[in-house]
C-alpha cells in the first residue's frame, strides 16, 4: 500500500505543465489526489512521472460572465461548496457538491480532477451533463473546447488527448429562479451513488414547464440525459401525476450491473429518483439536503 517509485514534477505555470506532459513518457497529472493517490497506493497505476498541478497558478477560480459560470480545474470542491455565486446562481451544483465524498476529500478534491476521472456515478460529471457544460482543455498550441456531450468516449475515458490538460469547465446558467434538484441513492453518505438523478426546470409565467433537463448518473458508462422524459414534460403543468407517469420511461434505459446492484434495480432507482428530483425541483416536494441512505 505504498506508491510505486516515480519522478516528481511540480510546475508553476500551465505552459510548463503542458510542456512536461508533452515530453515525458508515461506521465500522470496529479490534481487533488483523491482518486489518483488511492490508485497509486494500490499500484493500479504505475506512472514513470507524476506532474503535480497543485502549485500551478491561475487554475483556481469561480467566476460568472454573461450567464456562464466558469470554474478553474484546480478549484477545490469545498470552494464550490461555500461559493455564494454557486449557491444562488447554480443550485444544482451546490446540491450536488454536498454529496461528493466527505469534507476531508472535498478540501483536496478538485472540480477538474473529478471531471477527468469521469466516474459514471460522480456527481460533478452528472451536473456537467445536466447543464450542457463546456470543457476547456489546454495544449501546446492553445486552448480547445469540448462539449460535454462529446466528452465521455468510453467508461472513465474522457476525450482529452495525451498532451492536453483540462483547465476549466463552463456551465451555462439557467434563468434566475429556475428549479433544481440533485438526489441520489448511496449505501452511505459520501459514497459514489448507485444511481443519481439531476433535474432542472424552468417555468413560464403561467406555470407551464418551458424547459427541462433530467440526467441519470450511475446507470451507464457515463451519465445519461433522458430526452424522452424531458420532452414528455415540457409544455405541461408540473404535477405529481405527470412526473409519476413520465418518469416510467427511465425503466427502459440501458443499465450496467455490478456488485452493488443488478440492472433492473438501477432502472427502478432511475424511475424513482428522477420523479423525486422533479418533485423537488418543481417545489411539489421539499428539498432534501442530503442523499437518500
Amino acid at each position: 500500500m505504498k506508491p510505486p517509485p516515480f519522478q516528481y514534477h511540480d510546475p508553476r505555470t500551465i505552459a510548463e505543465a503542458v510542456g512536461l506532459l508533452g515530453t515525458l513518457e508515461n506521465a500522470k497529472l496529479l490534481a487533488g489526489g483523491q482518486s489518483l493517490m488511492p490508485m497509486l497506493n494500490m499500484r493500479f497505476v504505475l506512472p514513470d512521472h507524476v506532474i503535480d498541478l497543485n502549485r500551478v497558478e491561475g487554475l483556481s477560480y469561480i467566476k460568472e460572465t454573461g450567464g456562464v459560470l466558469e470554474i478553474g480545474a484546480m478549484t477545490r470542491q469545498y470552494e464550490v461548496e461555500f461559493s455564494e455565486i454557486v449557491r444562488t446562481r447554480c443550485p444544482l451544483l451546490h446540491q450536488a457538491i454536498l454529496q461528493v465524498g466527505h469534507r476531508q476529500t472535498r478540501n483536496r478534491g478538485t472540480v477538474g480532477g473529478s471531471l477527468c476521472h469521469l466516474d459514471p456515478a460522480a456527481e460533478l460529471v452528472s451536473v456537467a451533463a445536466a447543464l450542457d457544460a463546456t470543457i476547456v482543455v489546454t495544449n501546446a498550441s492553445g486552448r480547445r473546447e469540448i462539449k460535454f456531450a462529446d466528452f465521455p468516449v468510453a467508461y472513465m475515458t474522457p476525450a482529452i488527448e495525451q498532451n492536453e490538460i483540462l483547465t476549466a469547465v463552463r456551465f451555462p446558467l439557467w434563468k434566475a429562479g429556475h428549479g433544481a434538484a440533485f438526489v441520489e441513492f448511496a449505501r452511505r453518505h459520501g459514497d459514489f451513488a448507485i444511481v443519481s438523478a439531476a433535474a432542472l426546470l424552468e417555468r413560464d409565467g403561467g406555470g407551464i414547464i418551458a424547459r427541462a433537463s433530467i440526467t441519470i448518473g450511475g446507470i451507464g458508462s457515463a451519465p445519461v440525459r433522458v430526452k424522452e422524459l424531458e420532452e414528455a414534460i415540457v409544455g405541461k403543468t408540473a404535477s405529481a401525476e405527470l412526473f409519476r407517469t413520465a418518469c416510467e420511461s427511465c425503466r427502459k434505459l440501458d443499465a450496467i450491473e455490478d456488485i452493488h446492484a443488478p440492472a433492473s434495480y438501477r432502472q427502478h432507482l432511475a424511475a424513482v429518483l428522477s420523479r423525486r428530483a422533479l418533485e423537488q425541483a418543481s417545489g411539489i416536494a421539499p428539498q432534501s439536503a442530503t442523499s437518500v441512505h
Partner: protein
C-alpha cells in the same frame, strides 16, 4: 530529476527544516516514520477509513492521499498537537472520554481532527449534521453512538468556554 526532495514543514507548531524525503512517500508515512508522530493512524491507506485525517493549513485532509513533498512549506496539525498543554486535554478529548466515544481508539485521531474543523465551522450542530460530518470516518467498535454524543457534548463545552 532526483527521486528525493528536501522539504520544510511546520507540524504542531514545530518547524522541521531540511527533511530529505523520497517523492513517493505519503504524508502519513512521513509523519509516522520520519517524525515519529505515530498518533496519526493508517487504516486503509486508500482514502476510505479516515483514520489518518490531519489538518493541513487548518483544513482536514487524508494524509494517506498526500505526498510529503506536497506539504512543503505548509502547516500541519496532528492529534499530538490538539491539546492546549501537556496536562490539559482538548474539550473534544474530554468529551470522548466522558461519553465512551472510543473503545480500541484506532479511529479516534481521525475522528478528533475531523471534528475540530467541523465544530470550528459549525459550533452548534444537530445530531444529523454530526453524523454527516463523521461519515468519512469508520469506527468498528462503538456503533458511533458514543462518538456522536461526545461531539455534541464537546460542542456544548466549547460554546460555554470558547
Amino acid at each position: 530529476m532526483s527521486s528525493k526532495r528536501t522539504i520544510a514543514v511546520t507540524v504542531n507548531g514545530t518547524r522541521y527544516e531540511r527533511k530529505d524525503v523520497e517523492v513517493r512517500l505519503t504524508l502519513a508515512d512521513f509523519l509516522r516514520h520520519e517524525l515519529g508522530l505515530t498518533g496519526t493512524h493508517l487504516g486503509c491507506e486508500h482514502g476510505v477509513c479516515g483514520a489518518c485525517t490531519i489538518l493541513l493549513d487548518g483544513k482536514s485532509a487524508r494524509s494517506c492521499l498526500l505526498l510529503a513533498v506536497q506539504a512543503d512549506g505548509h502547516k500541519i496539525l496532528t492529534i499530538e498537537g490538539i491539546a492546549p498543554s501537556a496536562d490539559k486535554m482538548h474539550p473534544l478529548q474530554e468529551a470522548f472520554r466522558d461519553n465512551h466515544g472510543l473503545q480500541c481508539g484506532f479511529c479516534t485521531p481521525g475522528m478528533l481532527t475531523t471534528l475540530i474543523e467541523f465544530l470550528r465551522d459549525n459550533p452548534d450542530p444537530t445530531e444529523q449534521e454530526v453524523r454527516i460530518a463523521i461519515s468519512g470516518n469508520l469506527c468498528r467498535c462503538t456503533g458511533y453512538q458514543g462518538i456522536v454524543a461526545a461531539a455534541l457534548d464537546a460542542a456544548k463545552r466549547m460554546r460555554a468556554a470558547p
